[in-house]
Amino acid sequence: MAGLVAEAVSLTYTGVGRDTVALDRLDLNVADGEPVAVIGPSGCGKSTLLLLASGLLQPDSGTLRVGGARVAGPRLATALILQDFGLLPWKTVLHNAALGLEVRRVPRAERRERVMTSLARVGLAEFVDSYPGELSGGMRQRLAVARALALDADLLLMDEPLSALDALTREDLQDLLLELWRQRRHTCVLVTHSIEEAVFLGRRVIVLSPRPGRVASVVDNPRMGEPGYRSTPEFYERCAELRTLLAEEGAVGGLVDRETGLIEAGEHR
């Protein structure tokens, strides 16, 4: 059981000169095995939400629970994939993928077996001895996914995992993430800047308001995951709906690029 529940979660970053309210009494309920996408303008506290859910940050007030238990620190079956993939350049593909298991003191033989399985699943089995610096952006992203798979995580938190990739690689990896979810049915919170990505990978899409972050609206997306969904009229309708909602939130300045579906950072304007 790995449902994620946030109740009235608030967090303020103390900065030099002025404080920034990142999240203000945010409520969120992600069911066990549900894939949810979180979208919103830059600086709406999306990343903060993931750091809280992963236990790396503690909220000033409110509580977060995963599978019913309060999140007090990093949880063994939670995997976090960061924007820059969080790979260590000095470790080979094999050791990067095995890092989570190594930290958890999993015996070497079992570690290797589980890592080889997860690397094979993302198509990196031939690159075990390469360094991240030798891989393309898409392959690095696959490696970050393999690391999460090796942990056998039931809660996958992803912070704009595909934002650094070109359009084709991006779709490729979206397909991979969807396929993995279909097979494993893990709970999934995907923070993204891309409307298409949110609709493709989120059964529900949560729209956050600009700073301080709160849930502005929730879009149900029941057909997510169906074969060929990306080219159905309904997919485009959902995207259009989200675009409108985001434009409303963008009253403070966020703009949606119609070509890419990306939200231009603009809350400081």
Partner: protein
């Protein structure tokens, strides 16, 4: 051609160029203080088996031991200071005040207290290496991207794991650079220390030969000093290539 092959050819070419330049300079100056490469090399090889080798061994031991001590003391301390703002707040003022002092000025003090043997030289060089590495390790540890630490912590890593998997490997390339610079300074200071106090080491050998106007022997000592520097540099290269393989990958 393999990496080693290319390296050997490179070294041979450089040695040939230096010998030519040296010979030309010796001819132009026509002074007994600058013998040409032929008499110098002859003196080097004839003295090596008898008196030169023991002095070279003593000097090598002093540099290697001091480098090891300095590294073992400075690197862990520097990395901890770089990652712990509280420890750094206490130690940083102390470092900033003591780092700029040229350590070689303590040579007379050390000679008086520790005598003319190994101890005074090793302590002096340890001081030099220590400060160089302390400052470098501290800065390198501070510069580690937050993302690397966060991603490892999210996997459940504690402080020790973060040091082992992130802080140490991320800082190694900078530490090797500091070691290369530091050992270069160390050999120079070693010459000074050995030439002022004691009757052992290449520094003593060179200055002693100088005093006897035995310029060929003096140059044999200088060649020994050069050899010492090259060997240390190459050892560091080999160690870095093994420990920091990831810095040499090409996309």
């Amino acid at each position: 051609m393999s990496g080693w092959g290319r390296k050997v050819v490179g070294y041979l070419g450089a040695v040939a160029a230096i010998l030519v330049f040296w010979q030309l300079a010796a001819l132009a100056l026509d002074s007994s203080a600058l013998p040409g490469p032929v008499p110098a090399l002859t003196a080097f090889f004839s003295a090596f088996g008898s008196e030169l080798a023991p002095h070279l061994a003593v000097s090598t031991w002093r540099v290697v031991a001091a480098t090891a001590f300095g590294t073992v003391l400075a690197v862990p301390l520097g990395l901890v200071l770089g990652r712990s703002p509280r420890a750094d707040a206490v130690a940083a003022p102390l470092i900033f005040l003591t780092y700029p002092i040229p350590k070689v000025v303590f040579l007379p003090v050390l000679l008086v207290i520790l005598g003319l043997g190994d101890a005074s030289k090793i302590v002096l060089i340890t001081l030099i290496i220590f400060f160089q590495l302390l400052v470098t390790a501290r800065d390198a540890a501070r510069a580690i991207p937050a993302g690397s630490v966060l991603s490892v912590r999210s996997l459940g890593a504690g402080r020790i794991d973060v040091f082992r998997h992130v802080v140490v490997p991320a800082s190694l390339p900078d530490i090797f650079t500091a070691l290369r610079i530091g050992t270069g300074t160390a050999v120079a200071v070693l010459f000074l220390a050995e030439s002022i106090g004691g009757t052992t080491g290449l520094g003593y050998y060179i200055v002693d030969a100088w005093g006897r106007l035995a310029y060929d022997a003096m140059f044999a000592g200088i060649l020994g000093m050069a050899l010492l520097g090259v060997v240390i540099y190459e050892l560091l290269e080999v160690a870095e290539a093994r420990l920091c393989r990831w810095t040499r990958v090409e996309r």
